[in-house]
Structures are given as structure tokens and as C-alpha cells.
């Protein structure tokens, strides 16, 4: 039996994901660790390609077949048993038992994440009927209830619509309803607002927060937008190139960002607001290729605080606050607080 922190529902430890493609091996996630306390929320923030979505998909084992996962993803079952998700068959019975019922997901594109030729009722009730043994009528009532819960007006009518008949915001609400259909304990929201208009983003985020309260959910919110996490989550992990470079309580991170990358992200927040689909305000240089593992600190190419040692050896995780950790050579033990050079 694995050990977990007593208040955690999900513990990701040293998660590594590699993709073996014909073109070469992609090191998408390199030793990521974070944990989700029960009933709390965790944000994972980073640029596209930093491995945050891969990490999330690892938790539900939805990665393509070319992916190889190592490390541990420990999940505390309702009875208190601990299951290591990385040891399960991706589409085996155990994993499928967890999906939807224990851990469910909201996806980036509400339109393409719903089948275009099946009615909302059909798609939402599918799992309820299959796993909870409800009759069609009962399931339908439950679906309407869910739709009402996520704030879809005229749910009795909307339930018979096809996804393309709904507006973008409504679709995402339906997605949320679908994810909540079986009362999961963990909800992973993968960039839930990226595809939405600005005005809708806040509504959907509020809805997710409401639902978290309603369903007593533990939430993992994945986003590139540091601003979003600020008022949504309790803890945040900043990812860069497959690694968590900094993590800690959200207030701590915002108040006292340590890692130069985090600082870079912080600076970009005001400029980014309102620009849909745009990435984080640029940090000089390019994200290095994920094909080759770096010898030194992955961020050192772009780091304004780069030092000689940064090119040699990957920095260790160091604790810089009560729950605040950072991966940076600058904060390696024995070093003093460096000067923060603002760009």
C-alpha cells in the first residue's frame, strides 16, 4: 500500500511521460509532482507544450498509445484504498471505473468534444444509464436536472437539441454537466475557457467554482492564464518544458514569485487580458525542443538571471516557503536571495 499525504485525494509523484514517435522521442513530462488535497483546487499553469495537458491526460490515462508513463499517480478511493493509476491498463476495467465516476474531465473545445450527431440527452445520459442502471426516463430527468444545475435555461427543451444548436457557452455548460453526471470526486478542467468569448469565460469559471462547492469536488484547473487561477484555485503549479518549476499556495506564488519564469508570467497578465487564444506574453527566445533533454536548466536559454551553473545540471526542487517550492539554481541550498532583475 502506497502512502499519501492524509488530506490528499490525488498525488502525482515524479510523473514522466515520453512519446515514442517515428521522428524521435518526445519528453513531454519530466518528473512532475503535485498533489491535490481533497475538496481543494489546484491550478497547473504554463505555455502551450509545457506538458500540462499531457499531465492531466495521464491522470485519466487518455494519452495516445505512443505515450509511455512512469512515476506514480496515487488516487484515494472512496473506501480509503489507494490506487496507483500509472499501473492500470489504460482502457482496462479499473481505469474505466475511475473515469467519469471518480475523476472526470472538461475539455477545451466544447463543440468538438461533443458528438455532432447525437442529442445532448443521449450523450449526457449514456454513462448514467450504463453505469447507474437508471431507466431512460429516470436518466432523462437526471439530465434535465443537471442541465438546470449548470444554468442552461429551458433545460427540458434543450435536452433534445444537438450540440450545434447550442451556443458556445451553453455547450461548455453541457460539457460540465456531462462531466458531473456521475458525481465524480475529482474534476479536471483542461483550458475550459480558451475557446470561449471573454464575456463567457468568467461565467463558466464561476460555474465551475460553484459546481466545485455543490459537488464537493477536488479541482484541477489547467490553463495558460495565470490570471484565471488567481481567484479560482488554492494551489498552483507552474510548468515549463515538462517540469514543475514552482509550486505553492496561490497567494504565496502571487505575492512572492521566485522562479524567473513565474515572474515573467506575472508580468504578462495585464497585457494579455481580453486577448483570446493568444499565448502568454512572450518571454524572450523560443521554447526549446522537447525532443532533446536539456543538459542544464531548461529555462536557462531564456532566463534573465542566467548564470554559469545554469547550463550544467538540472536544478533540484527546493523549499522556499511553508508549502512553496521552486526549481532554480539560484535558490539552491547555501545561496542567498538573489537580486531580482526585472526585464
Amino acid at each position: 500500500m502506497k502512502k499519501m499525504a492524509p488530506d490528499s485525494i490525488l498525488d502525482v509523484r515524479d510523473l514522466t511521460v515520453k512519446f515514442f514517435l517515428d521522428e524521435g522521442t518526445v519528453h513531454a513530462v519530466n518528473g512532475v509532482s503535485f498533489s491535490v488535497p481533497a475538496g481543494r483546487s489546484v491550478g497547473i499553469v504554463g505555455e502551450s507544450g509545457c506538458g500540462k495537458t499531457v499531465s492531466a491526460y495521464s491522470i485519466t490515462r487518455l494519452l495516445p498509445k505512443t505515450a509511455r508513463i512512469s512515476g506514480e499517480i496515487l488516487f484515494r478511493e472512496r473506501g480509503g484504498d489507494i490506487t496507483n493509476i500509472t499501473e492500470l491498463e489504460p482502457d482496462g476495467g479499473d481505469m474505466r471505473r475511475i473515469r467519469g465516476k471518480e475523476i472526470s474531465m472538461i475539455f477545451q473545445e466544447p463543440m468538438s468534444s461533443l458528438s455532432p450527431v447525437h442529442k445532448i440527452s443521449n450523450q449526457l445520459s449514456e454513462a448514467i444509464i450504463q453505469f447507474q442502471g437508471l431507466t431512460k426516463r429516470q436518466a432523462r430527468a437526471r439530465v434535465i436536472e443537471l442541465l438546470q444545475l449548470v444554468g442552461i435555461p429551458q433545460a427540458e427543451r434543450r435536452v433534445d437539441d444537438y450540440p450545434f444548436q447550442l451556443s458556445g457557452g451553453m455547450r461548455q455548460r453541457a460539457m460540465i454537466a456531462m462531466a458531473l453526471a456521475r458525481n465524480p470526486r475529482v474534476l479536471i478542467a483542461d483550458e475550459p475557457t480558451t475557446a470561449l468569448d471573454v464575456t463567457l469565460q468568467a461565467q463558466v469559471l464561476n460555474l465551475i467554482r460553484d459546481m466545485q462547492d455543490e459537488f464537493k469536488l477536488s479541482l484541477i484547473l489547467i490553463t495558460h492564464d495565470l490570471g484565471v487561477v488567481a481567484h479560482m484555485v488554492d494551489y498552483v503549479s507552474i510548468m515549463y518544458l515538462g517540469m514543475v518549476v514552482e509550486s505553492g499556495p496561490v497567494i504565496e506564488i502571487f505575492d512572492n514569485p521566485k522562479h524567473p519564469y513565474t515572474r515573467g508570467l506575472m508580468h504578462s497578465i495585464p497585457k494579455l487580458r481580453g486577448r483570446r487564444g493568444e499565448r502568454v506574453e512572450p518571454i524572450p527566445g523560443f521554447v526549446p525542443s522537447a525532443y532533446a533533454l536539456q543538459e542544464g536548466c531548461p529555462f536557462c536559454e531564456r532566463c534573465p538571471m542566467r548564470e554559469e551553473r545554469c547550463t550544467k545540471g538540472i536544478p533540484q526542487r527546493v523549499q522556499v516557503g511553508s508549502e512553496h517550492y521552486v526549481c532554480c539554481h539560484v535558490y539552491q541550498p547555501g545561496e542567498g536571495e538573489p537580486d531580482v532583475v526585472n526585464a
Binding site: L62, D91, R96, R97, G100, M105, F107, S115, H118, A127
Partner: protein, 328 residues
């Protein structure tokens, strides 16, 4: 829906007129007329025919009239009396000749279509799910092999094999002892013994195309986010594959039914000629050769109309299975 069908049916009228005109032009294109065929046959039989007689026959068959008059008379007969004209070669009204043949053609074509669907469907799903594996390559290869083999060659070889090695009676759709017999279980068995050759020959040529369409559609769909979303709900792979991607991949597949029909009929034409099947195609080819114009024209008209109806049916099916079109 009804309005849609009505609109489509209405649309078909000018198309049918166009088709009938083209059919008539086609049968008029080659130089000479049926009378030349008749003369050739008479000469071969050692009879002779004088200029006067030829001229009298020309008038008798209305071949002396301008083409557009001939056309109008033909169309008038079809519309007012269901009379498709007279077959010179068979010396019978065309309508006595075509329906049974057409029905058999449909049986052979549709059963070949079904065969190719039944074969293509699992192959395409298997090879899409097992993409880039040996199985995928092998199945694709088999499908392409069917496509690549000229119909007549396959027909000849299968006919030869079934006659020489299995001792099945060759050609036609029935063994001689069942040809005139009433329907019975034994006769059906006998029909199947014969039908497999044309079904395989015609079916194989279409199967590869279907496999390709379905496999590619399915590959597209399998990569769509909704599949991942469905998996995230805990639905099993097999179940969700059939419920979502296969269902959606079938939509463009259904739209192919309409234009598969003329291909099947063309394939059937060659195959039926080789196998001596009592279907429309050999009669049509013979009529085209001997310039038996009304018979040829009527077949062309009816076969093309069938295709149009087939297209209409597949469009209606499309509307039924794809709500996106329905709500447009």
C-alpha cells in the same frame, strides 16, 4: 422532410428530360442504323434484300423522319402509354423486354453492393482501428487487389475455375435443370451457386473504394476530441467506437450509395457479358451494337433514372442520419 423530397422530385424532372435527350443522342451517334445490322445478318444467312425493301423498312420503322420527331414520338409514347417503342431486333415492344431484365440487374447490382458493404465494413473498421499494422496493410492490399483486377478477367477466371474444378454449370444464374423450375429451396441454393461469381466480381471492384472511404473517415473521426471525451466518461472502446466514430464515418459513406449504382451497373455490364447473365446489360450492349435504338435508349433512360432515384434515396438517408443537414 416531405417538402425536401417533393422539391428533389420536382428537380428531377428537368434532369430526366436532359437524360432522355442525351440517351437519344447517344443512340443516334454511331453512323448507320439498325437496317445495316439487319442487312449484315441477312447476308450472313444467305438472304438478300433489295433497295426498295430497305426503303420500305426505313419508312415502316419511321427511320426516315427527322431525329427530333423520332425523339418526340418516343417520349410521347413513354409518357402517354408507357410505351418505350419497338425493338427492331427482337420484334417486340421494348416494354416486354426490359422490366424482367432490369429487375435481375438490380438484384445482381444491389446484392453486389451489399456484398461489398458487408466485406468493406468490418475490413475498414479493423484496418482503421489497427492502423499501420500488418493486418491493416494486408486488408488494404486485398481490397486494392480486388479493385485492380479487371472485372472481365476475374469473371473469366472464376467462371473457368468453377466450371473446370468444381463442376458448377457455368454462365447464367441457374443450372439448366432449374432454369424453368418453380422456386424452391434447391433453386435458391442453385442461384447462390451461380450468383457468387458475379457478386464477387462486381463486389470486389467496389469494395476497395468503400474500404478507403470508410477507413479514412473513421481515422479522421477517431482522432476527434469527442472520442476522448466519451472515453473520459468511462465508456468502453468498442462501445464508443460503434456509437460515435463509426456512426459519423458512415455519413459520407451513405452518400456514396447513389453514385455507386451506375458503377455497379457498369461493372455488371462487363461481368454479365462474360458470364452470360440474363440481365439488362448484355441486352443493352447488344442493342447498342445492333443500333436497336429504342431498346438501347430505353435502357439508358431507365438505368440513369434508377441512378437518380438511388441518389435521391441516399440523400434522404443522409438527411435522416445527419442532423446537421436536417437542421440547415
Amino acid at each position: 422532410m416531405l417538402r425536401y423530397i417533393a422539391k428533389r422530385l420536382l428537380n428531377m424532372i428537368p434532369m430526366l428530360i436532359l437524360i432522355s435527350i442525351i440517351s437519344f443522342i447517344i443512340i443516334q451517334l454511331p453512323p448507320g442504323s439498325y437496317l445495316h445490322t439487319m442487312m449484315a445478318e441477312l447476308r450472313a444467312a444467305g438472304d438478300q434484300i433489295s433497295m426498295d425493301q430497305i426503303e420500305a423498312l426505313r419508312i415502316h420503322y419511321s427511320l426516315d423522319q427527322p431525329v427530333h420527331i423520332q425523339y418526340l414520338n418516343w417520349v410521347k409514347g413513354i409518357i402517354t402509354e408507357g410505351n418505350f417503342g419497338f425493338s427492331f431486333e427482337w420484334n417486340r415492344p421494348v416494354k416486354h423486354l426490359i422490366w424482367e431484365r432490369l429487375a435481375l440487374s438490380l438484384v445482381v447490382s444491389v446484392s453486389s453492393l451489399l456484398v461489398s458493404w458487408i466485406v468493406a465494413f468490418p475490413i475498414a473498421i479493423l484496418s482503421a482501428l489497427k492502423k499501420h499494422t500488418f493486418l491493416d496493410y494486408f486488408l488494404t492490399f486485398v481490397g486494392f487487389l480486388g479493385l485492380s483486377t479487371p472485372n472481365f478477367m476475374l469473371a473469366l477466371i472464376l467462371m473457368y475455375i468453377s466450371s473446370v474444378f468444381f463442376g458448377f454449370s457455368v454462365g447464367g444464374l441457374f443450372s439448366p435443370e432449374y432454369l424453368m423450375a418453380p422456386w424452391s429451396a434447391a433453386k435458391v441454393v442453385d442461384l447462390l451457386k451461380h450468383l457468387w461469381v458475379p457478386m464477387v466480381v462486381i463486389g470486389t471492384s467496389g469494395t476497395a473504394g468503400l474500404i478507403r472511404v470508410l477507413r479514412n473517415n473513421l481515422l479522421d473521426e477517431l482522432g476527434k476530441p469527442y472520442v476522448v471525451a466519451a472515453r473520459s466518461k468511462g465508456i468502453g472502446i468498442a462501445r464508443l467506437t460503434f456509437k460515435y466514430p463509426v456512426r459519423i464515418a458512415l455519413i459520407p459513406f451513405i452518400s456514396t450509395v447513389g453514385w455507386q449504382l451506375p458503377q455497379m451497373i457498369s461493372g455488371e455490364a462487363v461481368t454479365a457479358t462474360v458470364l452470360s447473365l440474363p440481365t439488362a446489360a448484355p441486352l443493352l450492349l447488344g442493342a447498342l451494337r445492333s443500333q436497336d435504338m429504342y431498346l438501347a435508349g430505353s435502357f439508358l433512360l431507365l438505368l440513369s433514372s434508377l441512378t437518380m432515384i438511388g441518389t435521391l434515396i441516399s440523400d434522404i438517408l443522409l438527411v435522416l442520419v445527419d442532423p446537421r443537414i436536417r437542421y440547415e
